[in-house]
Symmetry: C2
DNA sequence: CATTAAGTTGCAATGAGATTGCGTTTTTAT
DNA sequence: ATAAAAACGCAATCTCATTGCAACTTAATG
């Protein structure tokens, strides 16, 4: 599969063995993963290397991170056309039952009219509840 | 000031000396405070006691907590009529310039129509940008 | 191809924030 | 006055994030 390599190179990330493995692992996920989740999908992998890999992926726009209130940052691959940049962020959903965190890329965050003087740059919307798998 | 005592008792919190001090300190804040912020407003106070005080206040509906992405949980007094319970949550604003976090109690979180099967219970909306003081 | 520079990885260590255990003190109930 | 319950203070622990540095790998250069 050269597709993985291409994806990395298109984002100006050097396709090392580790990164290819991480990218493939991320693609297999249905829900967002924490660093620890990712660590457990590999037999033998260094936490810090995975950490830095995710950081790199995020810097280069391959993944975005999600704060779901659990304390552990979750990561998910950006969809095509996913502008993780300040604008155009989508809704995230945390399931209180299975503890999975999902991207809802179809759902754009509605804009709110802030009080005088407040200038928005970035918006995060997290919904907690029961996911489709658990309901 | 018996008002502070009344407020605690109305929320079924025993008005100890420490709790009265914390409540007064919280009322003096314009922005939400972290545990460390609170700790620094006192000359001599134990972090854990403050932590447990905030926990108690939160359990009894006196304050609500805010995750603003800084890693440190922020706390703010509930306004009158503030239903921190799942529904009726308001928007929060984090200023990238002064790093203060504000409640915007006037701004209700718009409801989003989730995909089939997703059942919302609680929603959090955090806007980051420049606050009125900094703009 | 040989050499050097640049980037990546693994392992140990550190930092920040949250949370717990427990003995002591204070408050409330009998 | 005495016993029970609650709150407090201090030390210790835990989780997750982050850094330092030497070893290793890859890319660039002559
Ligand atoms: Mn997402
Ligand atoms: Mn608030
Ligand atoms: Zn679920
Ligand atoms: Zn500001």
């Amino acid at each position: 599969m050269k597709k993985l390599e291409n994806k990395l190179e298109q984002n100006k990330v050097r396709p090392t063995a580790m990164r290819l493995l991480v990218l493939k692992a991320l693609q297999n996920q249905k829900a967002a993963v924490s660093l620890q989740d990712l660590e457990m999908t590999f037999e033998k992998a260094d936490r810090v290397t995975l950490y830095r890999t995710l950081k790199t992926f995020q810097d280069k726009g391959l993944v975005h991170s999600i704060e779901d209130g659990t304390g552990a940052t979750k990561y998910a691959l950006c969809q095509d056309g996913c502008e993780c940049a300040p604008e155009d962020m989508h809704v995230h959903f945390f399931c209180n039952s299975c503890n999975d965190t999902f991207c809802l890329p179809k759902l754009k965050i509605p804009s709110v009219s802030l009080p005088q003087g407040f200038i928005p740059v970035e918006t995060n919307l997290l919904v907690k509840g029961i996911c489709a798998n658990c309901s």
